[in-house]
Amino acid sequence: MKAAKGTVFKYGDNVDTDVIIPARYLNTTDHSELAKHCMEDIDKDFTSKVKAGDIIVADKNFGCGSSREHAPIAIKASGVSCVIAKSFARIFYRNSINIGLPIIECEEAADNIKAGDVVSIDFDTGLITDETSGKTFTGQAFPPFMQKIIDSEGLINYINSKE
């Protein structure tokens, strides 16, 4: 994915994997089933309001807690095109890259973008544009190695391509 555009859902610090996808739904690995319960313990309206392309913006330590890959899978399967946060918990960060969910660290964007704003992102340049306010921000670029995994649309494809 080279660009994204959508409406923003805004959250605070330490959004943990238990609220992204509660463990009571971890008895399934079905992506669309997981998406039906995404964020329900922190935002019960999320699943009814989210549209393909929408963007999550949060403060620090997004995705803390469990290693469940079901969390980025649920977000991606809900149609979310990118998560922007001040910082990400490391396992969530790794899992997102490995499954091809675009994520960007950008403190300024998280401070300034408001819920409901329309935001567009150019993944090649890291440029984040808040089209509602007109402000622009630059997200942190990925190291080249991670960019290759992202360009391959996930770790498994990347490994296959090396062999």
Binding site: T29, C64, N98, I99, L155, I156
Partner: protein
Amino acid sequence: MSRMTMTQKILAAHAGLSEVKAGQLIEADLDLVLGNDITSPVAIKEMEKFTKEGVFNKDKIALVPDHFVPNKDIKSAENCKCVREFAKRNSITNYFEVGKMGIEHALLPESGLTLPGDLIIGADSHTCTYGALGAFSTGIGSTDMAAGMATGKAWFKVPSAIKFNIVGKPSKWVSGKDVILHIIGMIGVDGALYKSMEFVGEGIRNLSMDDRFTIANMAIEAGGKNGIFPVDDIALTYINEHAKGKKYTVYEADPDAEYDEEYTIDLSKLTPTVAFPHLPENTHTFDDIDDIKIDQVVIGSCTNGRIDDLRIAAEVLTDHHIAEGMRCIVIPATQKIYMQAMEEGLLKTFIEAGAIVSTPTCGPCLGGYMGVLASGERCVSTTNRNFVGRMGAIDSEIYLASPAVAAASAVTGKISQPSELGL
């Protein structure tokens, strides 16, 4: 002259490099790849996408169905079946069926599968537990698990480290749980984000192996990549008991290794510590805890379901009965611990006190089963997370504490420390 931390030395050795620096991206060889009944099915599905078939080494993969096992419902049963069949198809040596199964992070060290100097990844965030034995071990997700099972390798960004210099001796009812809750309260749930937490100092000799497992286990609750202890005679005694004859390498940090931050923790100054809802960093000590009535107590999990934990809980519960209306659920973490607790008479103490004793399972810790909370209910739990809805209803509350505090609270019906029972 290198200036590497203990973690960096293990990573360098597994990447075939003489030196690594914080921030460097490396590819390293794996000694063990772990998964459970929740994360493995996702990894097994990912494995099918590989052009190359099979696993890299059938002896270096551990599959431990423990979260929703014994199967809590049909969907969980199907997940376990998927893991069981994968293990059989690939002749996985270390697959643990019900009866042999225990909570993974108690079971693997006990089975001699986690050794000093090893590089271990596990599709479970509490994989960091094995740092207690001087291994580099860290939690990853299912896709990394799949790649690890297929190739025997994983990529890492070499972490910088925070040094915790442990001094002094803890008082009677202070244990590893209080140490790590104190640290998380001090640095916050992202205080060690992306970093190693290295626990050193003369005070560690006053921490039992089980205390160390508890401390390393919760490094992830401070955002840490891993938690690690030097390998001393206490660790070697454990290794000799559980992994006799196996080969391993002991790594030490360089004397002038670089650390981002250093803290001194005086064990003698710590008091029983409780993390209030809904973050592990929200810690309180008993000088600022009012009467908080509770409905349930859970004593168990990969954090605190080991024999020391059960001994402490039983010591508090001896000659006491849990409060009227209280539910107290005790979960020995492995079959071996269960048996040991039986032989030592601990199970009798629990049952006579009005508690129940369960077969090993992660169950209630993540709100799976065996102790899910209704709306408005409060639980004192020896587990590791007190996030919103973690153990059940989204308006239920979890207070994280040591086995001593959990047992005392079960008796009084409110958050209490053993001294309130005259102990």
